[in-house]
């Protein structure tokens, strides 16, 4: 009988807490969004499943090593985030997957990528005003970069206790780009601006594409060494893709390595979403601030697009400024959709890819600045 009672006391039923149940419901809801609504499924499915697994009562997955016994699986996988390994490796894959030609042929769109980062710093101020510490505020602000790996990297280095809320907010808003961005884009532009047809991009040579990652690293590496873990891997991945002599490494970065890291990253981010860390007032504040950051980044990108439109005599469609928030390639697709609604013969996708990949570089630089000064 004692053994039976002992067994009962070791089950989840005997140890259930309301907060854990709430987290499990949230996890199942995110799982539903990922599978049924296809909102960033490659990330939301492992994140929400990781969240579900760690919120079972007495779940050993995040257990620390104790009395000579090894720790839980997620405890060890989490070292990849804690030590800043997974996000740069994700960037390696992104670099190998990204064609920077639209940016190389139209480099002024980098300014749109820069402008869209203003949301990060505006939200940083907002978070400070709400009583967060400078490091926490920086980690929250980076949600405005709409770049999951960057947000995870920065919060793991500066505010690991907020990692779960920040990463869930970042990926949720990235998934909600088609809902959040269009109203802001329409609000800040006139119909005349939205129908602007941009001139064709010039073709880039292979040598330009090979030199691009090297130049980016030489400049940003001297300006901001703290951005090198992210930008260095991004550019290495791109060099694998473009140099033409490392096809196998490029394919491995794009596929096998990237997919493995996405699984580890997703599971361990979910594992940080235990009720203890997640069900707090701060989480709600982070969700609201994240939305503010994202909206502000979109707005400043579009406003810079308007400035470029004026400066070039109407040759730049300001809508592409919204793609300055990273979210590759979803925000570029949103620009295409909004532009095409006004002018069905307008194809903005390739033009929007310039600020889009510029935004990836910009948000990595912003993260590097926070790491350097906070």
């Amino acid at each position: 009988m004692d053994k039976f009672l002992h067994f009962i006391s070791q089950t989840g039923f005997a140890n259930i807490e309301l907060s854990s149940l709430v987290m499990m419901v949230i996890a199942l809801f995110l799982l539903y969004l990922g599978i049924a609504k296809k909102y960033e499924p490659l990330l939301l499915v492992p994140i929400s499943f990781g969240m579900l697994l760690v919120n079972f009562p007495l779940s050993p997955l995040m257990a620390l090593p104790d009395n000579g016994q090894p720790g839980g699986l997620f405890h060890y996988l989490y070292l990849g985030i804690e030590l800043g390994i997974y996000p740069p490796l994700i960037f390696l894959g992104i670099g190998a997957l990204t064609d920077f030609s639209p940016l190389i042929s139209n480099p002024k769109t980098l300014l749109l990528g820069a402008a869209a980062q203003v949301g990060i710093f505006g939200t940083f101020l907002g978070a400070l005003a709400l009583g967060f510490t400078a490091m926490e505020a920086g980690s929250i602000g980076i949600i405005g970069g709409a770049d999951g790996p960057t947000a995870i990297y920065l919060s793991s280095q500066m505010a690991p206790h907020l990692l779960g809320a920040i990463s869930v907010a970042a990926y949720s808003y990235m998934a909600l780009v088609p809902i959040i961005q269009p109203p802001i884009m329409r609000l800040l532009t006139t119909k005349k601006e939205r129908i602007i047809v941009m001139e064709d991009l010039r073709e880039t040579s292979k040598r330009e594409r090979i030199l691009f990652p090297i130049i980016v690293i030489l400049i940003t590496g001297f300006f901001l060494p703290t951005a090198l873990p992210l930008l260095g891997m991004l550019m290495l991945g791109n060099l694998f893709r473009e140099c033409g002599v490392t096809e196998r490494l490029s394919k491995a970065s794009q596929n096998e390595l990237n997919n493995i890291i996405v699984i580890f990253l997703g599971l361990t981010v979910g594992a940080k979403c235990s009720a203890y860390y997640f069900l707090t007032v701060e989480t709600i504040q982070i969700i609201v601030l994240g939305l503010l950051a994202f909206a502000m980044g979109t707005a400043t990108g579009v406003l810079m697009g308007k400035v470029l439109c004026k400066a070039t005599g109407g040759k730049v469609n300001p809508l592409i400024g919204a793609a300055g928030v990273s979210a590759v390639p979803m925000s570029a697709r949103v620009c295409q959709t909004v532009g095409q609604k006004e002018n069905p013969s307008n194809f903005l996708l390739m033009f929007a890819m310039g600020p889009n990949v510029g935004g990836v570089i910009g948000s990595a630089i912003a993260a590097g600045i926070f790491l350097a000064v906070l």
Partner: protein
């Protein structure tokens, strides 16, 4: 501490201005360099025109070729006029045939610098001489922007009886 007071306490305004400035300055510099990159590469491709004549590789090649062909005296004849010339021309077309697979590996039109590099990588002997001669025979023909094309129809062995 909350509100403006909290922002001031953390030097929030200064940090924000500094951070925005760094993002813009670094991306503007990057943008300027990238916008000039294709021009820099075009200048690099035309360096032979920009260099003083005595340093231009083509001129040196030509001198080397003339030296090889007759101790610097006279011009090589475009058509064979003697048995030696016939042998040399035959060897030229053999060289052209040997080089054509190498040239197939390059984009068309291509830069001579790329061809020199590929020849060096594959240990082709006397690349300067051979390329100069291929140009002389109009097998390698300039097209645009210092780029060349290889006339395969001219590289076939002629019917020399």
């Amino acid at each position: 501490m909350y509100g403006i007071e909290a922002i001031n306490e953390a030097n929030g305004w200064n940090l924000t201005i500094l951070a925005i400035s760094v993002v813009f300055i670094s991306l503007i510099i990057l943008s300027l360099i990238i916008s000039q990159l294709h021009r820099i590469l075009a200048v690099w491709d035309e360096r032979t025109k920009l260099l003083p004549q005595n340093l231009a590789p083509e001129k040196k090649d030509a001198e080397e070729m003339r030296k090889h062909e007759g101790g610097g005296k006279g011009q090589a004849s475009p058509t064979p006029t003697s048995p030696e010339d016939i042998n040399e021309t035959t060897a030229m077309w053999e060289a052209a045939a040997a080089w054509s697979p190498l040239i197939e590996r390059l984009d068309d039109p291509f830069l001579l610098a790329d061809l020199y590099k590929l020849a060096a990588e594959n240990d082709f002997p006397h690349p300067h001489l051979t390329i100069s001669r291929l140009r002389y025979e109009s097998i390698l023909v300039p097209v645009e922007n210092q780029r060349f094309t290889f006339k395969y129809e001219r590289a076939g062995k002629p019917d020399i009886q």
